[in-house]
Amino acid sequence: MAERPEDLNLPNAVITRIIKEALPDGVNISKEARSAISRAASVFVLYATSCANNFAMKGKRKTLNAGDVLSAMEEMEFQRFISPLKEALDAYRREQKGKKEASEQKKKDKDKRTDSEEQDKIREDDNDEDDERMEEEEQNEEEEVDN
């Protein structure tokens, strides 16, 4: 199923919706044009990734971060994207923080219940350490890219 990277498409329905909302009412788009824009978007992501990765490597980091992507936008001369992207990033971080706090609260409640049972306390501690480590890994927000 592996094709060329340019064949990795973004969903047509979403692309079409984004296009339609960007254009005035009553404007249509041919299938060929829509398909070409979709492909262009894929190429854009590939190019931006490559650019961003250069910044990561310059910084001697193995993980692409948001800053690398912003630097890539600058390099690709899409400076006008930077401000809306920063806003989106802030909103995303707030949302992630909210999710994390919700799951931490759940964990606290769960711990309260298990502690009060007072059975196999040592095993519980070991499990908690594992949970914390796993959470830390999640917090690092690293997606393993198998290459």
Binding site: P11, T63, F78
Partner: protein, 125 residues
């Protein structure tokens, strides 16, 4: 169904409810978008593009070792902005041709006319 779709699409001009021709096959996935957060007023919208697909593109680069979730998200949002931008530039070309339907040649014109789109040359064929 339409109500659910509109509710999930968030702020900004409401998506054209009726004239979604050409989306019949894809209406199902579009009507049940991934659970993105709703920005109450005119706050920044979180991405509509599925992060999994963006991640697949990022993984396609052999030089990339790891990519953080935030990076994937920002790339998705940037891709959206890119689509909006190129659509508008292509529309400018359609207007020149006094047409209300964007055609492939409008896209080609935009790519040629706009410096930032130079990276696309030769990639769309």
């Amino acid at each position: 169904m339409a109500a659910a779709a509109t509710a999930a699409v968030t702020i900004g001009p409401t998506a054209a409810p009726v004239a979604e021709e050409g989306l019949s096959g894809e209406a199902a996935p579009a009507a049940a978008p991934p659970p993105q957060a709703l920005a109450p007023s005119a706050g920044p919208r979180l991405s509509r593009l599925p992060l999994a697909r963006v991640k697949a593109l990022v993984k396609a680069d052999p030089d990339v070792t790891l990519a953080g979730q935030e990076a994937i998200f920002i790339l998705a949002r940037a891709a959206e902005l890119f689509v909006e931008t190129i659509a508008r530039d292509a529309y400018f070309s359609a207007q020149q041709g006094k047409r209300k339907t964007l055609q492939r040649k409008d896209l080609d014109n935009a790519i040629e006319a706009v410096d930032e789109f130079a990276f696309l040359e030769g990639t769309l064929d």
